[in-house]
Amino acid sequence: MMKIDKSIPTHFLYPSNLFADKERHMVTTILGSCVAICLYNEKLKYGGINHYMLPLWNNNGLATPRFGNIANQKLLEKMIRLGSHKNHIVAKVFGGANQLNSSINIGGRNIDIALSFLEENKIKLAGKSVGGSVGRKIVFDTNSGSVLMKYVQKTINSK
């Protein structure tokens, strides 16, 4: 069991948002059928994370990181803007559970978008915990790239 060091700055990542910073942060997020990609630059030791709810943007509303295709691109752009080279980035993918009452398999489609995005951009997948039927709570350490994770049954507001 791991305990979280409370002296490190924390950030709670809401759905449809993304976060990347050169300073060390412990980023927490809660995932149901949503997917989060954690990108980590091994050389410069910093990372970023997104949290999207649906696979694709359909031109309705704004092009926000609520949608996988937008969120993944924006996260990678943000990493690059902070000085990363694509070749030094590794990724971990979480979430995409299928809630029992969902018949359209949003979780699965969210996972597909994440994995194909990483493949297209030749980003190495360092680990993943996806699918299943239970939600996840993850804490991403942007300084080491490590992720703490636990399965959660009782979810409030996690999509």
Partner: protein, 300 residues
Amino acid sequence: MEKLTDEELLKELKKRFEMNKRMTYIQKELMSDLRRANEKLLASEKVQSQFLSNIRNEINNPLTSIMGLSKELESEKSISDQCSRKIGLIYSEASKLEFQMQNIIVAAELEAGESPLYVVKVDVDSLLKSVIKSFEYFSSKKNIKVVYKTTFPKSGKKFNTDSDKLKVILSNLVMNALEFSEEKSEIIINAELADANTLIISVEDYGEGIAKADINKIFERFIQLDSGSTKKHLGHGIGLSVVKSLIESLEATIDVKSKLKKGSTFTVSIPQGYIKDQMSSFSNDGDDFLFFDDEDVEVI
């Protein structure tokens, strides 16, 4: 196939070799052009993101001064009527600008994924009144009567939601209703709690209305149904796409009923949000986590 003599073959080979060389050269040129363009793009991205974070105060501060001072001057007794009218115009134009700027900034934040939820206890009644008040100038200019109906208890029922986001949603709906209403008409705003956890607010106008076929288009980015040379309304088609994205982040829904030439009703239905403490500490099994680091390790 045609047979070539040695000499012809040599000539052909030489020709192809030259062509190849030229192609490689062109390719190299193109590559370096591409690289330069890419560098430029990255630089402009960087500038853009810094620009957006700086722009808010740089624009809002002078605008607030213009609005505050013109409002003050307008009611000054020592100036002529004509002058006061002109000052009123300065105020109304500045507040339109402020409204548009707010939409642009909110859209930029949403698109950058930097728009977290701040759920607090909101006094919806006061919020609605303040939104209506902020458009008093426009409604009185067009002589539009804004009717506000509510079934909230007088004590001021508090509802958990993101107050800033709700305010932007309502401002846009009211602004649209005013913009598309005829002069001397009426706008009806109705707010009620459908049940303890659902807030329903509707904004009804008797304006131009939207054709059935166009209803789905109105939430698209940069779409204005009367664009081009016939455009007679304010804005740049960003308001409702902002509303839609904000509605999504509040996990709310929006419903549009409209009839051409008869008017439109926009109804939002907002679920009670969770205050952050509840949200991040929802699981009461403590801060014990399993370490997840190696490839394909599923920790249960």
